[in-house]
Amino acid sequence: MRSILTKPDTPGPSLALCALVLLGAPLGCDTTLPFPVASAHSEDSPPRRGGTLHLATYGDLRSGIDPASGTDQSLGPIHLVFAGLVDYDGSARVVPDLADHWAVDDGGRTYRFVLRVGVIMHDGAELTADDVKRSAERALHPSTPDPNASYFANIAGYEAYAAGRADHLAGVVVEGRYVVAFHLAKPDSTFPYLLAMHTLRPTCRSAGDRYSDAWLACGAGPFELPPSGWRRGTSLRLVRHPGYFRPGEPYLDAVEWTFNMKALAQRVRFERGELDLARELTDGDTARFMADARWRPLGTVEADTSIYGESMNTRMAPFDNLEIRRAVAAAIDREHLRMVQPSRMSVLTQALPKALWDDPSFAGQGYDYPAALQHMKKAGYPFDPVTGTGGWTEPIEYLLFDQGLDVYTAQLVQQDLAKVGLRLRLHLVSYSAFLTLQERADASAMSQGNWMLDYPDPSSIFDPLFTTEAIASEGSFNTAFYSNPRFDELAARAHLEADAAVRRALYREANAILCDQAPWAFTFGHHNFDVRQAYVHGFAPHPVGPLDVSGVWLDRAGEALERALGGGLR
């Protein structure tokens, strides 16, 4: 029986406690950043050998380091462990790496590479042309899970080899101990770019002729993988390859990655000096670092390596109407869109990232609200912004996946398009469903298109995204299902053309067609932003994207003291 003498529950204390904890916690966090850990010597002093570079990432290495099966996740480590015949220099030009030089013959159909003499691989053996051929055949074999094999379909004999009818790849010919020639079916000026990709990079003899999951990575790059270097799902440690063919390099003793680390943990570790380079800080954190005068010089903006736009299915209403597409392209305020992630997004008004196409005189697309209304009127669906009547009356399905930028930019685009009478209805799906549905001919009217540069050339964007042969009923990368014979012709000619000036003119016309016909409303380009510690020197961003730390050297103040005291301060 409830006694009337019992004090009834007082709500006070419990509520007060909750309020205190909840509101007090964020106020208790400090907003001042620590000092960057200093460098022992100034920036212009000569490089020093030694030290381990600590990196972290939100992703994971998944299935290992192998150029024959590498995906975006593993490009960074692959780039360090495996050197290729060619690589990029600071201005995104292809220069020889393992090759000493190369020559182009036969009207652009043959590329003959002469290798450097005396390149020692991680197992101590010397690199020869046989290794190059064996690695190429290993990567392109039908039993290998290589996601990029069809990029090399232009190599002579590829079809027979990929179908299993031939034992060897006829187009790769060993002509001497250090000479190897690639014969192509059609002339292709972008072939050096393909070689700079990771797929055909030479592997040691231990890799054998066929791909195997259990192989321990071994190549000719500046760093090698020690036997227990990869703790699956946790960390990866690469150590210096003492026999690297560039004398004195690499400067670092080792590079260590930690995987699956979330943003807060990365930031805390970076502030404490346990991480040396941070690439995945949130925007809020990035803004705080860049607002601090001590840290601002330590931020590096990399080149735009991907393009984003609103892909409109030209075979579905209302986007089969050209004027409506033009209206969309003019209605989106790209400066506003950029505010979603200002440190990593830049405005894009045409089909190519700024690093590939920086021409202020080129018209392209752009935000122009009155023009957008005009286009809607020309389309036959005039919209009156004052009364809010008119426009396209049915809601348009917009396909969306919940990961980072897409969600936020979609909501901004929805607001912008509502102002010209196009009402979007956002349809959220998982990433894998998104890929499937976006690439199906009749599944989605509008979605965000994006593409990462495989190599710094316009063909890397035009060919897979906007040509007619890229269209398929399932799995079509041409998500706008856009077909234009003139555009196809330009893209094909530019692919064969060797003269740079002529190519540029061809691409200029192709670009103009895309901007005018607007299968996509190009919105923004994306680049990476790195913040490094003051003692990290020699960091030069790679033009195509993987984090390239091969030239980095460390010069940490107090490191000598650390070693003297017998152990890290970490």
Partner: protein, 333 residues
């Protein structure tokens, strides 16, 4: 159930009144708040919402609770979110509690016995399930459901049916089914991001706990004198369950339900991790919490606002529930 003495007891309970007041306040905020706000919940304001460092502004004159990541008014969004969050949480809890109570009480009541089951009804049920399943042209699922049901019926059936066994095995299967996959399957079968999908997901995953707790409690209550007496007197089981068992298990039921409301409100943010729940741009408290987590230290208002709302809702419902329980059944003290 809420007669005059119960109402008096409720009115004298200070914390129950406080709880009711908080809930009423939240409902009022949800209904009226958007009208008072200076901005719409779905409008980005790039003129006043952007701070000098290009980040969203904090609490200020134009934005009483700050701006969110795309510069919308958090105050307005919080109010609009309240409508949906409260509605979804309460409805889903009612669904889950009803299912859980039914299953739990029936299972506990019939535990250890076998009952006659009218076979035509059972066959009809299985047939209906099969028809629905194959109507969706998912013949595989239909066959599987029919097969599993048939095998369960065979195991537990025969001339007499072990109701408790059947129900509890269903609970076990539901519990063993991974939450993620279940949620994604429901999301794929229905439209992934409608409110109805959300009800179904939350209701379908929330009832099992209540069922188990109530079953255990029913088995204890079953042995009470007056319950046994009324059964011996020949009262029909339905009436016994409703008149005698239900009031006795009302205590744990109400407590479980109020805890469930809290979990439902929070569950929304967990579902956001999987890309489920109400589609943007419509806000819910759980989604606002999920979106704000990366900005915990740089823009704490993005987390503090929905978290406070959720906390108040949880507290309010809890105090309310407890007050109801104390009012209905003072013997439980």
């Amino acid at each position: 159930m809420l007669d005059a003495p119960a109402r008096t007891r409720f009115a004298r309970n200070r914390s129950a009144l406080a709880g009711a007041a908080v809930v009423a306040l939240l409902v009022a905020f949800a209904l009226v708040g958007p009208l008072l706000a200076s901005h719409g919940a779905l409008e980005s304001d790039f003129a006043r919402g952007v701070a000098p460092d290009a980040m969203p502004v904090g609490p200020s004159a134009a934005f009483p609770l700050g701006a969110d990541r795309i510069f919308r008014d958090v105050f307005a969004r919080l109010a609009v979110a309240g409508r949906l969050s409260l509605l979804v949480a309460v409805s889903a809890t009612l669904i889950a509690s009803a299912i859980g109570a039914f299953v739990g009480i029936v299972a506990g009541y019939y535990e250890g016995t076998r009952q006659h089951l009218p076979w035509p009804a059972a066959v009809g049920l299985v047939g209906a399930l099969g028809a629905v399943a194959s109507g969706c042209t998912r013949l595989a699922i239909g066959a599987l459901i029919a097969g599993t049901t048939a095998s369960l019926l065979r195991r537990f059936g025969g001339p007499r049916l072990d109701v408790d066994g059947l129900l509890m095995r269903t609970v076990d299967v539901m519990l063993a089914f991974p939450f993620l996959l279940l949620v994604m399957a429901i999301g794929a079968a229905l439209d992934r991001t409608s409110a109805v999908t959300l009800f179904v997901i939350l209701g379908a995953t929330g009832w099992m706990g209540i069922a188990r707790v109530l079953r255990a409690r029913t088995m204890q209550v079953r042995s009470l004198d007056y319950v046994a007496a009324s059964r011996a007197l020949g009262q029909p089981p339905g009436s016994v369950m409703f008149k005698h068992v239900l009031p006795n298990v009302a205590g744990p039921l109400i407590v479980s339900a109020t805890v469930l409301v809290a979990q439902m409100i929070v569950a929304d943010s967990v579902l956001s991790y999987l890309g489920l729940g109400i589609a943007p741009p419509t806000p819910t408290w759980g989604r606002m919490l999920f979106e704000g987590q990366d900005y915990y230290s740089t823009a704490p208002w993005l987390v503090a606002a929905p978290a406070t709302a959720i906390l108040l809702a949880v507290w309010g419902f809890n105090m309310l529930g407890e007050g109801l329980r104390d009012a209905i059944d003072p013997h439980e003290a």
